[in-house]
């Protein structure tokens, strides 16, 4: 049974009711339970867990420390293109937004790479809008080898692809795919995705299974917090993760918890997530899944990011640009969203080290993989 079928057969209203009627006893028992379960996750995501935020943080810190030490993996997004054939009312790349569209040529890509390499990064996240014809598999396949020459770990955050396309990219050195569902509420999903291939809710829900079958090392899941009821969306995300771990045990999983941020022509969150809510989410997922990687982007402000190391966050970006060509030629007009933590890489790292954490730049040797 695919996750889509499982998701469709879940009694959503009943689960929602349970989520909002959980009491302190269930939270206390979830806090001490040594094995993360979906019912514990529900308790920890519930409003009833809010008064227990400090206890959650203490446990999350213990677990994270035991599993990840004081390491924080460093990565950087590299925007390949802002071309997009979708209309998503929360995103600056939306088709109808009047902004200068651009896809990097191989020369421009090389230029970006050389600047990023100088900063020390060895793990890169390639990002693009969704434009099947101009920024599709052929474009990715032509650019990936240039990137793989310079970076040990290559992740992608682009439109969902077919299984054979993912396989092709894996053979060219792709290590990880980030593909966020945005929301697990199909009605809300349709409201916000009004044009383009991204309207296909099911194809997106099915994507992580295709990615796993293609042999990708790591799959990144996430929801855009604020589009819908974030507690419930996070719970569904937990179900998705649980399903994938059961069926695709060779993959690693990571989580991103982006909050809806202002962007050109963008919308305001339906259900805003406070800083406290974000901390609750991070801790709840850490208690749910001890080996899960959790990454935090520069969407979040510096003061908050510095306090979240150790509570569950394992990977961060720093000194990011969210526009194609933005490292060699910063313009700030082609952005996907506004960056909140605009410190330089060295400023970010100094603050991290002062808190007792160590940046990890290289954590992979791709030649060991796919030796056949």
């Amino acid at each position: 049974m695919s996750f889509y079928d499982e998701l469709s057969s879940l009694p959503r209203e009943q689960l929602k009711l349970s989520l909002y009627s959980i009491g302190p006893k269930e939270v206390e028992s979830a806090l001490v339970s040594s094995e993360g379960s979906l019912s514990s996750l529900m308790a920890l995501l519930s409003p009833a867990a809010e008064p227990y935020i400090e206890q959650m943080a203490v446990r999350a810190k213990e677990i994270t420390r035991r599993r990840f030490g004081t390491n924080i993996g460093m990565y950087l997004p590299l925007y390949l293109s802002n071309l997009c054939a979708n209309e998503c009312d929360y995103c600056g790349f939306s088709m109808s937004n009047k902004l200068k569209r651009k896809s990097l040529t191989s020369d421009e890509l090389k230029q970006e790479i050389s600047i990023i390499k100088r900063q020390g990064f060895d793990s890169i996240l390639l990002v693009s809008g969704e434009h099947e014809t101009k920024v599709g598999i052929d474009y990715f396949a032509s650019m990936l080898p240039l990137v793989k020459k310079q970076f040990s770990y290559v992740a992608m955050e682009v439109q969902p692809l077919r299984e054979d396309e993912y396989k092709h990219l894996v053979n060219l050195g792709l290590d990880a795919v980030m593909l966020y569902q945005e929301t697990y509420n199909p009605t809300t999903y349709q409201e916000h995705h009004t044009r383009g291939n991204k309207q296909d809710y099911r194809y997106r829900v099915d994507s992580p299974e295709r990615i796993a079958r293609a042999g990708v090392d790591k799959i990144g899941l996430g929801v855009l917090l604020g589009l819908d009821d974030w507690r419930f969306d996070a719970l569904m995300l937990g179900y998705h993760l649980h399903y994938l771990e059961r069926h695709f045990w060779r993959c690693r999983y990571s989580l991103s918890l982006p909050r809806l941020r202002p962007c050109t022509g963008g919308i305001t969150p339906k259900m805003p997530l406070t800083d406290k809510g974000l901390v609750q989410l991070i801790c709840a997922f850490r208690l749910f899944n001890q080996q899960l990687e959790i990454s935090l982007s520069t969407r979040e402000p510096a003061s908050l990011r510095d306090n979240l190391y150790g509570l569950g966050v394992t990977h961060i970006s720093a000194g990011s640009s969210t526009e194609p060509g933005g490292y060699s030629n910063p313009q700030r007009q082609l952005n996907q969203f506004e960056i909140s933590d605009d410190r330089s890489v060295s400023e970010t790292v100094s603050a991290m080290v002062a808190k007792g954490y160590i940046p990890v730049w290289k954590d992979w040797q791709s030649e060991w993989i796919n030796l056949s």
């Binding site: 206390e28 806090l31 339970s33 935020i53 203490v58 446990r59 800083d275 901390v279 306090n307």
Partner: protein, 257 residues
Amino acid sequence: MLMLADSQFSSRLFTGTGKFSCSKTMVASIEASGSQLVTMAMKRIDLKTASDDILAPLKASGVKLLPNTSGARNAQEAVFVAELSREVLGTSWVKLEIHPDPKYLMPDPIETLKAAKMLCDKGFVVLPYVHADPVLCRHLEEVGCAAVMPLGSPIGSNQGLATQTFLKIIIEQANIPVVVDAGIGAPSHAMQAMEMGASAVLVNTAIASSRDPVAMARCFESAVSAGRDAYLAGLGVTSCYAQQTSPQKPLTAFLES
């Protein structure tokens, strides 16, 4: 109800046929245990005579037979035994046991995986007996086994769940039933396995070699069903409440500022 391949079982206690003093005691014990799935070594069956002292009374008792390949030392031998049992007994169910080591009878992981794949491809319902190795169990699930049967401790040793830590991982990860097999020496061991969430247990030596096998079979029946009920009811957590002592400065103090 436990679903195994296409069959339902109301009893989660599987038993064996070895080491009983006589076939009458064996049958009485199996009946007392409530077991509906009983394993027997193909090597013990007398294929020439119709009135076998193990087979005939078992058939008459109405339990489902689970022939095992005990004695096989490699995949090839095990597949041969399975095919033989399918022909003779008319069942495609097989408990796959391969132990080239005659001292501890440790199951051979490499040959077991090989044989499991071959037997699944041939349409057998394969229940492999293995060490409590979580990755091996993943592989066995992938080749199509109907269940996995990891050991609690060396077979016939009555030492209980020496592999508890690994059994927990296997149970957590499996999408097929997990039957804890071998080493269960006391009803409390069986109960513990069931409390952990095992789908069933297989017990032979502890019943057969008891002073009163029929009484012991009954004890195991109670222990297995109590253990299952406890698992379903949800065990309480063992540690006391989370330490409330925070570092000098609470970790979430930044939220207040």
